[in-house]
Symmetry: C2
């Protein structure tokens, strides 16, 4: 009869709009809202509205932030001569976990994908060019995903940035640390061979 408890059904539908939430999970989540105290449910609702209101793009690197500048751009200790270009904020989180990278970021907000209507002008490329024109940046590390679209975006960036006299690099391809070569795909193994280094 949940189909007929209109407000429960509506809530489940709303949860179902979130990424990675299927119909059954959405219904379970809706039920779990009913089990919450009114206070907790209000906190959840408020957190949604607040996050949406407060979080905006950092005017420099286009990463998401709820402050004037994101923490990386605001950090005086970071190396402003290197910019790592990523497709989305989640990639910044992964890169930051490495703790080795001390440069800056630039978030494109996607990758070139004409099939999905994402042409280069839809990405934050002109903002990147504006940053580069300031002259401080010497190297751009393209860290888009190793997919067709990620590759195309990397090639596109390389082609427009190299003429500006900026070093453009790409993350190395190869086998994952701790992985089993038996299970590595042929393309990755081929890239790992191509990129082999003397030891």
């Amino acid at each position: 009869m949940a189909e007929y408890i209109e407000s429960l059904q509506k809530l489940a539908e709303q949860f179902g709009r979130l990424e990675g939430v299927g119909r059954k999970s959405a219904m379970r989540m809706a039920f779990s809202v009913l089990d919450m105290s009114s206070e907790t449910a209000n906190e959840l609702a408020l957190a949604i509205i607040e996050a949406k209101q407060k979080i905006h793009l950092c005017p420099i690197c286009q990463n998401i932030t709820d402050r004037d500048l994101c923490l990386v751009c605001a950090d005086e200790g970071r190396d402003r001569s290197v910019v790592c270009v990523v497709s989305d904020p989640k990639a910044v989180i992964s890169m930051e976990k490495v703790r080795e990278y001390k440069g800056m970021y630039h978030v494109l907000g996607g990758v070139i994908s004409p099939m999905n209507g994402i042409t280069p002008d839809k990405l934050k490329i002109k903002e990147l060019l504006a940053r580069l024109s300031e002259g401080e940046i010497q190297e751009v590390i393209v860290a888009t995903n190793p997919t067709v679209e990620g590759e195309a975006t990397a090639m596109y960036l390389s082609r427009i940035l190299k003429p500006l006299g900026i070093k453009v690099s790409r993350l190395a391809y190869g086998i994952s640390v701790g992985a089993d070569i038996e299970y590595a795909d042929a393309v990755t193994l081929n890239r790992a061979l191509e990129g082999r280094r003397e030891i």
Copy 2:
């Protein structure tokens, strides 16, 4: 750096309070709120508040509803002489999917579990007794889960209801339709043997 985008982190924590939502899913959901339009995010927040405000227990069967009476209790066509006792509203949904059951329901709001502090007085048993005292109900079908707690609850109900001259029955145990006997557990198989029927 998501750890440092306070409102994003807060939202992910709130999502993490929902049943079946882990840390990673919660963060993915929080990100997906950022990808929504403000309107959609507001709709989600509003649906949470609304569901919480509108949904209450049906005064007769204690199932959840957003109307005065739940649809089953409000339905004049149902058989008021049979009551199926279940632990929670989700069980009602499953029973309704059968489409064969035309009786009423009574939702206990849990099962007896002294370990978790759930004693019979915490369940809607006195509400059930009040319904029974009206004299219309002739049979109570106990449909609690086939777990230790569900069994204990069924035994408890049987012990207090039988002296009132009411027929108390329990759902049959046995192998699932379409299941493979090879994979049925011994306890279930034993129950299926005990409950065997002539064909």
